[in-house]
């Protein structure tokens, strides 16, 4: 069984801060990490191969530096990693990205047929959640999005059963292989890499594939293959803070003034939501 995990290197947003004076993004010193949803997918893939045999190939499209995110995945048990890096890939939107990744998966399939593709639900920097379904559509795989648990994999019948989170419910669903999963964090945190595995991961050779290697149409990748373009960017209108009620002098006074203000300004919202008969 051959599983391919698609990952993305993203800025660690827990380190991104706003400069309170200039109100701009402070990016200095922000580390790049493997997208948290993606690494959860790699862990799930490794677990599947531990149980059912097979191997995990991790791929990413990005600049040469994205190699370090691939090494993180090798360190937790992925067998092989490939970096898709080419100047022609730059400026890709989700349509071009899914084309590039799907082309690489097709190429990998010629050596060892790919039966499962795993992507994170979304990347934390772009939040689009479009790339996974795009890849599944291009490969004509079944797709199961928002997977929170892999319940069973039957390799004889080539059927996978998972739990997925949909609006207001979760769903137990089965699909035939080949299949693409996009995964939620609930699937399980990635393991810690042992020191020997870390060292092994650092030494492992990571091939770099460009347009030629994946046999892609140069007009369908990167900026050229992207129908959308950014027209302009601007800072969002900042939410302005309102009145502050300090309870340090008198709790009662502060609360009374607060409620007076709230009932005066936002009576309509309160009238809609207040539920004084609730049992609590």
């Amino acid at each position: 069984m051959h599983i391919v995990c698609c990952i993305k290197q993203v800025p660690d947003t827990t380190q991104v801060k706003i400069d309170p004076v200039t109100n701009t993004l402070v990016r200095a010193g922000v580390e790049s990490i493997c997208n948290p949803y993606d690494i959860v997918g790699v862990e799930a893939a490794v677990k599947l191969t531990e149980r059912y045999g097979g191997r995990v190939t991790v791929i990413t499209m990005g600049p040469p530096q994205a190699e370090s995110a691939l090494r993180d995945c090798l360190a937790i048990g992925a067998h092989k990693a490939i970096l898709l890096s080419d100047r022609a890939f730059a400026g890709a939107d989700t349509l071009a990205t899914s084309y590039t990744l799907a082309s690489a998966i097709k190429k990998l399939s010629t050596e060892d047929p790919v039966e499962i593709v795993i992507c994170g639900k979304q990347a934390i920097d772009g939040d689009t959640a479009q790339t996974g379904p795009g890849i599944a559509t291009r490969l004509d795989f079944n797709q199961l999005t928002y997977v929170s648990e892999i319940i069973n994999l039957d390799l004889d019948k080539k059927v996978i059963r998972v739990r997925r989170e949909i609006e207001g419910a979760s769903q137990i669903i089965e699909a035939n292989l080949p299949v693409l999963l996009t995964v939620e964090l609930q699937l399980g945190a990635p393991r810690y890499a042992s020191l020997p595995n870390l060292i092994k991961a650092l030494r492992q050779d990571i091939p770099v594939w460009g347009v030629k290697e994946i046999g892609a149409d140069p007009d369908m990748v990167g900026l050229k293959g992207s129908p959308t373009s950014v027209k302009s960017i601007f800072a969002p209108p900042p939410r302005k803070g309102g009145p502050v009620f300090d309870t340090s002098d008198s709790l009662e006074n502060a609360i009374t003034t607060f409620l007076d203000t709230l009932f005066q300004k936002d009576a309509s919202i309160l009238a809609e939501v207040l539920n004084p008969d609730s049992k609590g």
């Binding site: 349509l95 899914s98 769903q171 373009s229």
Partner: protein, 422 residues
């Protein structure tokens, strides 16, 4: 004006303005631009001073003064087939026989865009026994509803729905296609855009039309909500966009409105895979959907003593609300992940957001900035959430919340009575 050793005028990047979008990398004909530390850098020796990077930069972060002809939009060749596409289409999402609110919100926005373009609003409706929903679509502003009413579409299977909507887009040829950014809509929209090979902009919070070039200006938050980007899809149709629920206004329902309903036959293959084995609604699972609650009482690191959860729950119930939380409480195992607000949790937009002991880091704010009113209760007057809250109460929540409960109970009857009289 900087020059390189060959005496050429060269372009220069202003690192503070660069957003790291890499568009210039793709545009540079001589590969002079590389990414360094998240920003683009131009190699002065490689740069030939063509200025192509300047045109493509969305952030005006490239300095280049050499006089040259700027490419105009009109000069760009538009594919001749684009003019065949007319009308604003809206996908009507149906869950368990009920239309999703976001579909009507988009119908309202679609109406506004269609009026600017002088074209009809088109509804795409898939499901089984959905005739009444087709009528509702018309009452909410739709002119023509195309329905595929078939047992095949009783439940959502992404591949089938993707095939069906691709078929409708090819037959009807709308110039704009709007889909709610619900879990269903997000995966469906990507399938359709991939099949149609057109552009898709996810999670838009603003949509507008330039009546001159008929381009849809799709605005979405990016970089964790710190930057807004306006995206265009110039040469491909339909221009597709998903829009977050509760961002657009719900239009007024007019049961007197007239429109047309056209039944369409599904021509694609009837694939029965994947098979749904079981659907477990959250209600029976003891879980909740915090995105639907009009009021959220959100607990942060400063309010994580479980002893006081019943009091906070009473407070939430009094306001017709639900308890939610920030990430530390989930990590500590105090509340389930389903209740987490923020970048790695849920995006919420309640009428009233009350943050108790929530500091309000960027990643949390991304998930709640669409809230109508924000109240922060915190001991720290410098907490980021206090800075953006419409009302902030500084002090110990254990003293403040009981006072609020008391005050709200006293004042509620008068307010509600007044409301009835109106």
């Amino acid at each position: 004006m900087p020059k390189n050793s060959k005496g050429r005028d060269i372009a220069e990047i202003i690192p503070d303005k660069c957003i790291g979008c890499q568009l210039c990398l793709g545009e540079c004909p001589v590969n002079a631009i590389t990414m360094e530390g998240g920003v683009a850098k131009i190699d002065p020796e490689k740069c030939i001073g063509c200025g192509k990077c300047v045109d493509v930069c969305p952030a005006s972060s490239i300095l280049f003064e050499k006089p040259r002809k700027k490419k105009t939009v009109a000069a760009e060749q538009k594919a001749p087939s684009i003019s065949e596409y007319k009308g604003v289409a809206v996908f009507i999402e149906v869950n368990n026989g009920v239309a999703a609110d976001v579909s009507w919100e988009l119908m309202g926005k679609g109406r506004e865009l269609a009026d600017k373009l002088n074209v009809p609003v088109i509804g795409f409706l898939l499901g089984y026994k959905v005739a009444s929903i087709a009528k509702e679509a018309i009452y909410h502003g739709c002119d023509v509803v195309y329905t595929m009413d078939d047992p095949l579409f009783q439940v959502y299977i992404s591949k089938m729905y993707g095939n069906a909507l691709t078929q409708l887009c090819n037959q009807v040829k709308p110039e704009i296609f709007l889909i709610g950014a619900t879990p269903l809509g997000r995966d469906l929209s990507s399938i359709i855009a991939t099949k149609l090979k057109t552009g898709l902009t996810a999670d838009c919070t603003g949509l507008d039309i330039n009546p001159e070039d008929r381009l849809l200006m799709m605005t979405r938050p990016t970089f964790g909500g710190n930057i807004m980007a306006t995206i265009l899809c110039r040469n491909h149709r339909p221009q597709m966009s998903t829009v977050r629920p509760k961002v657009m206004k719900m239009p007024k329902r007019d049961p007197g409105r007239q429109g047309e309903i056209r039944a369409v036959k599904y021509e694609g293959p009837a694939e029965v895979v994947p098979r749904i084995i079981e659907t477990i609604p959250f209600d029976t699972d003891g879980a909740v959907d915090i995105t639907r609650s009009p009021v959220l009482v959100v607990l942060g690191k400063g309010a994580c003593d479980t002893k006081y959860f019943p009091m906070l729950e009473e407070f939430a119930n009094l306001l017709g609300g639900t308890i939610a939380c920030s990430r530390p409480l989930v990590e500590a195992g105090l509340l389930p992940y389903l209740r987490q607000v923020g970048q790695t949790g849920k995006t919420v937009a309640p009428k009233l957001y009350i943050g108790i002991g929530v500091s309000g880091a960027v990643q949390h704010q991304v998930g709640m900035q669409g809230s109508e009113r924000v109240i922060a209760i915190n001991t720290d007057p410098h907490a980021p959430l206090v800075q953006i809250a419409d009302y902030a109460i500084i002090g110990d929540y254990l003293k403040i919340v009981p006072e609020l409960i008391k005050g709200l109970k006293e004042r509620a009857p008068a307010l509600l009575k007044e409301g009835v009289q109106q």
